[in-house]
């Protein structure tokens, strides 16, 4: 079959360009409709959440039981692809040197952070852990939040007994009052927390753990 010669004319080229540009521009404009109030609220919430959970630190200490909040933190981190860190702070009293051996507390730190690592690995989230010894738990948490540029601190609560009217622990109040980032505090209800309880129950000590113990 014979092919005729190809002829490019200026009007033809201009029209071709106009067709492509007009079609593309029309579709781009269509795909960006004006936002409604509901859209704006949703967008702000999403952006806030993104900002909130860009880098998460879960705080543990003898005074702060965050086991049930770890499961929530892992779910948040997975959904938002956040950096997740678990920190255990051991408060060293002024009566002891800063590098004093505190076997019971260190053992508790290993348990708490080990469990945190297991929860994170089960859902495929990378977790970094750190044990810190400090004179003041609250100051140590605030410092590490600053160092890591944390956007949210997550921690459980400590109360004398399960009396709902009791104030939160002093350390938690100090962190909440002075943190430059958002603080998410999980307060157990009257009947305990369902958050992550099953996870921790399922975890239990493994045979390997028992051997180590």
């Amino acid at each position: 079959m014979m092919h005729e010669a190809v002829t490019v004319t200026v009007p033809g080229a201009i029209i071709a360009l106009l067709i492509a540009a007009a079609t593309g521009a029309t579709l781009w404009w269509m795909m960006h409709p004006p936002a409604t109030r509901v859209d704006r609220i949703a967008a702000e919430a999403e952006s806030e959440l993104e900002r909130l959970v860009g880098s998460i630190i879960v705080v543990f200490s003898p005074e702060i039981d965050s086991a049930h909040m770890m499961a929530l933190a892992v779910k948040l981190a997975r959904g938002e692809r956040s950096n997740l860190m678990a920190v255990y702070v051991i408060e060293v009293p002024y009566t002891l040197p800063p590098d004093a051996q505190m076997e019971v507390e260190e053992r508790s730190a290993l348990d708490a952070l080990g469990a945190a690592e297991t929860i994170a690995s089960r859902v495929g989230v990378d977790l970094t852990t750190e044990t810190i010894k400090a004179r003041s738990t609250s100051q140590a948490v605030l410092d590490i939040a600053k160092r890591e540029k944390a956007q949210v601190l997550i921690m459980g609560s400590y109360r004398e007994d399960r009396y709902v009217g009791a104030p939160l622990g002093r350390t938690i109040e100090e962190i909440a009052a002075n943190a430059k980032c958002d603080v998410l505090i999980g307060i157990e209800g009257k009947h305990g927390s369902l958050l992550g309880e099953d996870v921790f129950t399922q975890l239990g000590p493994t045979d390997e753990d028992n051997n180590l113990l």
Binding site: V6, G12, A16, I19, A20, T26, L27, M30, P33, T36
Partner: protein, 540 residues
């Protein structure tokens, strides 16, 4: 609230692109049919015919955009007309749309086979009319069966096909204009092949075929996310995209130098590209044949455009099947049609009676369209009675008639709703309005709607003048429908020419709330309160 009392709500799953694709798979397929028909009728003035119909189409599009964004319900045109002009006119508009949907099923199934015939000549309607007839019949029956048993193509598939087609058509036109467009050839064809007034009117009446289907977007309004914001965008984008394509194709067909030598016509004469695309043998697959003639890109286009076109046409045919059952359901819900059209089959959970009834009409239309090709005696009768219109043109006539009738009422309804329902917030409004006061309310009188009404009535008149079949079959369809409507309303003890009682204020609040347009709902409620306060103040 007990579960059995809880009203199920329709999930809003149609996204911005989904809404566009919904309309595009209907309107976008039209150019595959319309181009050849218009070239055959309007010859060197095909671009002018498309321009005239395109201007009217822009007005129609703007009207539908305003109405669908203001009243995001599933009924589409018939709902707007029933609300603006009353039940009787709502029925006529809906009945005309139903004619279009049944034609849609037949016409697009027919041209789907035509496009496949580009690659498989055994399916050619001229060479093998019985094969073509049975294939088209099989497609319609197959679509009816699939819809009865509840199988539908996925909306994602529809979206992908629409996206591919937009890209493909942009490439065909882009390469066509870049490598083969000769402005002097365009001018030459317009001067030497300018049609008679009759031919131009014929072309304009068929050109509107390329723009029918905006109804689809408004029908999907109830399922669209944020309809008041999204529908204006998707409708305007659809209007512009289709307009660009239609005008570009018609100018390219007149001004393009073909890449391959064209075959001689039946009398052994050389023919221009528009003549080749517009003759009875090729007018059902003009876009595929034009794409083949685009330099360089045509080699690839020759392989995939017939397939892509056939898929798009099949989707469009399918949209006619479920569109007709949806609109019949909506009309039945509004007491414009008997409740049988609302009946859902217990086994398949689909409106089986509705689907089979309208697919049955589609098959009757197919027989009428195919008869002259199948039987020489029938051809002689058609030649005598209908000036020898071919099958595709017959279907195109009725398509244009149904659309023009329905759109005419939509324009009047829009004007009526502007005057009598000024309190409903309009996130999109047709431009060029005259401010006036009606019954104590400030209203905007839409000049573009008047222009559009004049345009579409002209097209309706052109259709009646130039097409004997359109002149007979179209009004006959309406008369049969009106008789059925009158009998039904009388039997049910409903007002025949007047409307049933409606609490439009309450209904509008529910429509906007169900649409998730809470800001508009607040605005509407505030408008109503302010209006009532004003009137109470005046009364006091």
């Amino acid at each position: 609230m007990p579960d059995e009392q809880r009203k199920p709500e329709l999930r809003r799953s149609v996204t911005t692109w989904g809404s566009f694709a919904w309309g595009y798979s209907d309107v976008g397929a039209d150019i595959f049919v319309g181009l050849g028909l218009v070239l055959g009728a309007a010859a060197g003035a095909s671009n002018v015919a498309f321009l005239f119909a395109g201007i009217v189409y822009v007005c129609i599009g703007l009207a539908y955009t305003e109405l669908a964004a203001t009243y995001p319900v599933a009924g589409g045109g018939q709902y707007f007309v029933a609300r603006g002009l009353g039940d009787f006119f709502g029925f006529i508009a809906g009945w005309a749309v139903l004619l279009d949907f049944t034609i849609d099923v037949t016409l697009f199934a027919w041209t789907c086979v035509d496009y496949v015939a580009t690659l498989v000549p055994t399916f050619d309607a001229t060479l093998h009319p019985w094969t073509h007839f049975f294939l088209t019949f099989g497609l319609i029956a197959g679509l009816a069966l699939l819809n009865v048993i509840g199988v539908r193509e996925s909306t994602a598939f529809q979206g992908v096909v629409s996206a591919l087609d937009v890209v493909s058509e942009t490439l065909i036109l882009g390469f066509g204009f870049l490598f083969a467009f000769r402005p002097e050839l365009l001018l030459h064809q317009m001067q030497t092949a300018w049609p008679t007034n009759y031919g131009l009117m014929d072309g304009i009446s068929l050109a509107i075929v390329s723009f029918v289907g905006l109804e689809s977007i408004s029908q999907a309004a109830q399922e669209t996310q944020r309809p008041a914001s999204v529908i204006p965008r998707t409708s305007v984008a659809l209007i512009l995209t289709i307009l660009i394509f239609a005008l570009a194709y018609s100018n390219l067909a007149l001004g393009m130098h073909p890449w391959h030598a064209l075959p001689l016509d039946a009398h052994g004469h050389h023919q221009a590209l528009w003549q080749y695309l517009g003759n009875n043998q090729n007018n059902g697959r003009a876009v595929a044949l034009l794409a083949q003639q685009v330099p360089i890109f045509g080699a690839l286009a020759a392989l995939y455009v017939p397939i892509l076109g056939a898929i798009l046409l099949l989707i469009s045919s399918n949209s006619g099947v479920f569109g007709s059952s949806r609109i019949a359901y909506a009309m039945s819900n509004g007491k414009l049609l008997p409740s049988i059209f609302q009946r859902v089959n217990a086994k398949f959970r689909t409106p089986m009676i509705s689907i089979l009834a309208f697919c049955g009409f589609a098959i009757i239309e197919l027989i009428f369209a195919a008869l002259p090709g199948l039987d020489p005696h029938a051809k002689a009768v058609y030649d005598h009675l209908f000036h020898g219109e071919d099958g595709v043109t017959f279907l195109g006539d009725l398509y244009a008639f149904g659309a023009a009738t329905s759109y005419s009422f939509v324009f009047i309804a829009l004007i009526a709703l502007r005057l009598y329902d000024p309190l409903s917030p309009r996130k999109f409004k047709m431009p060029f309005n005259i401010k006036m006061t009606v019954r104590g309310e400030r209203v905007d009188f839409p000049l573009v709607a008047v222009l559009g009404f004049i345009g579409i009535v002209s097209i309706l008149v052109f259709t009646m003048i130039t097409h004997i079949i359109g002149r007979i079959a179209g009004p006959s369809w309406l008369i049969i429908g009106i008789v059925l409507y009158l009998v039904y309303r009388r039997q049910k003890g409903l007002p025949v020419f007047r409307s049933r009682q409606h609490n439009w204020r309450k209904e509008q609040v529910e429509i906007l709330r169900d649409a998730g347009e809470l800001e508009l709902m607040d605005e509407f409620v505030a408008n109503v309160k302010a209006s009532d306060a004003r009137k109470a103040g005046v009364g006091a």
